[in-house]
């Protein structure tokens, strides 16, 4: 068998490739379908947002991609390799903050770095504390931080292990409006600097339009991908620009929400 040499800089596999994903839960003997044949491909360094009606299974989909749930059928591949469980190369940022309340800011960021020698670990922790602007809070416990700081801490903990992929499940949903806007800007800044592949689930269409290279619109449960929208606009994006408003209105149409209330 002969294989053609791969061209330098071109990877044969997309970063993430999902094919024919089905998932159903057992509901008192009857299967209740949650995911109904999801196909998607994400390239390395891409920022993809998943939106859909509430309860459609978008969070469940992300848990399957993260390896926390086994699909009933179908496959999830990363770099051409089948996903069999969670892996430090792909970190999940949970909707309900999952920073460990019994550890300090330093302890949390260093959680996945115990394999590193002490000095390197300390340097890495200091770098990410700086990156998310938590300087001065190294020894603080999560209960001493605001909601936005906690969320930044979780992002820092995720980035510290240098993953290729970040899965973010409505990471800013519990924050107030202003903090949420700031967190979006922070996330974009970090993404532009570190070039991770990001899949972000949100119910906030403005968030998806502001952040994503691509927005995938899911159907109501059982979830399928109804529509893929490319967003070629450069950052920073103006939330009031006609192009943004047009995109937002298209997504709302797709989801089937009445715009005029």
């Amino acid at each position: 068998m002969s294989t053609a040499p791969a061209l330098p800089g071109i990877d044969a596999h997309p970063k993430l490739s999902v094919r024919g994903l089905y998932l159903s839960f057992d509901d008192g003997g009857k299967p209740r379908p949650i995911l109904d044949g999801v196909d998607l491909t994400v390239e390395a360094g891409e920022f993809v947002c998943l939106v859909g009606p509430s309860g459609c299974g978008k969070s469940t989909l992300l848990h399957v991609l993260g390896g926390f749930l086994q699909p009933t059928s179908g496959s999830v591949e990363i770099d051409g390799e089948e996903v069999r469980g969670p892996d430090p190369r792909r970190i999940f940022v949970f909707q309900e903050s999952a920073v460990f309340p019994w550890l300090t800011v330093e302890g949390n960021i260093g959680f996945g770095l115990t394999h590193l020698p002490g000095r390197e670990r300390a340097e890495r922790i200091a770098h990410y504390i700086d990156l998310v602007g938590l300087g001065g809070f190294e020894r603080a416990f999560p209960h001493q931080l605001s909601g936005g700081m906690k969320q930044r801490l979780e992002v820092a903990r995720a980035l510290a292990v240098n993953p290729d992929v970040l899965y973010m499940d409505e990471p800013f949903a519990s924050l107030d409006y202003i903090t949420r806007m700031e967190m979006r800007r922070e996330l974009l800044r970090i993404w532009q600097r570190e070039r991770k592949t990001i899949l972000l689930v949100t119910h906030d269409i403005d968030e998806a339009v502001q952040l994503g290279d691509r927005v995938l619109v899911l159907s109501a449960r059982p979830a399928r991908i109804r529509q893929t929208l490319e967003i070629p606009m450069p950052h920073p994006r103006d939330a009031g620009a006609p192009e943004t408003i047009r995109l937002r209105s298209r997504i709302l149409d797709e989801i089937g929400v009445a715009k005029n209330i």
Binding site: G66, F94, A98, W102, G112
Partner: protein, 244 residues
């Protein structure tokens, strides 16, 4: 002045006590005298040491056995289904019902008392540890697995610290129950300890001043034990559960 305020009800109680004193209720001064005598002779210390020794060992053994068992039950559904009925049967059984068997198996002395404490605490502690582990936020466990922890590391670095505050709070209430069980147990089957002191004082010619002195000592030591447990709950590693 404000710091003395909590003492006010206590002073009131002593005053009422003085008024109520009679044939079966010794005066506060008589009890203070009895307490002084017990302290001077070293008898009080001897009985306190005996009781504290038993509760320490019984409670420690129960914790070391029951807490890991309870945590394991939380993580294994099938074990849980097997053991749960047994625990449900054991728990409402008064630990004192074991006294005849405890004496039969362990003779007299410290061992039967330690066994009673063990049997009083172990089922409750197992259930507490099980509930604590089962109520851990799934996101913590998922995050731990996401960072590539093995099962043993997950237990040590996530499950144990996440469940610790709830387990500790449960240990505190269990220990208070164990203390009262021990005192009752000592009335039945041993010849030292604060429970024995009370029974002995009554049997030796209705010395109610000594009975009252013993009761005060039991309250004071129980309070001390609880205060020590409360101090542990206040450490930074535990405090998050109350502040969240």
């Amino acid at each position: 002045m404000r710091r003395l305020k909590p003492l006010l009800p206590l002073a009131l109680l002593v005053a009422l006590w003085q008024l109520a004193a009679g044939r079966f209720i010794p005066t506060p001064t008589a009890v203070a005298h009895a307490l002084g005598g017990l302290l001077a002779s070293g008898a009080l210390i001897k009985h306190i040491v005996a009781s504290v020794f038993r509760i320490t060992w019984g409670f420690l053994l129960a914790s070391l056995v029951a807490i890991p068992c309870g945590m394991a039950l939380a993580l294994h559904r099938r074990w849980r289904l097997t053991v749960n009925p047994l625990l449900a049967l054991l728990r409402p059984l008064s630990p004192l019902a074991w006294t005849p068997l405890a004496v039969l198996w362990f003779g007299v002395g410290d061992s039967p008392a330690i066994f009673l404490i063990f049997i009083a605490c172990a089922p409750t502690l197992a259930l507490i540890a099980m509930a604590a582990v089962r109520s851990i936020k799934p996101a913590y466990v998922n995050a731990g697995r996401n960072f590539g922890l093995s099962n043993v590391q997950l237990l040590r670095r996530v499950i144990f610290p996440a469940a610790a505050p709830q387990i500790l709070a449960g240990m505190r209430t269990t220990l208070a129950v164990a203390w009262s069980v021990l005192i009752s147990g000592e009335m039945l089957s041993v010849n030292s300890g604060l429970g024995f002191l009370i029974m002995d004082a009554r049997n030796a010619g209705n010395r109610f001043d000594l009975v009252f002195a013993g009761m005060l000592a039991i309250g004071a030591v129980g309070f001390g034990i609880d205060a020590a447990m409360r101090l542990m709950e206040r450490t930074e590693m535990m405090r998050w559960a109350q502040l969240r």
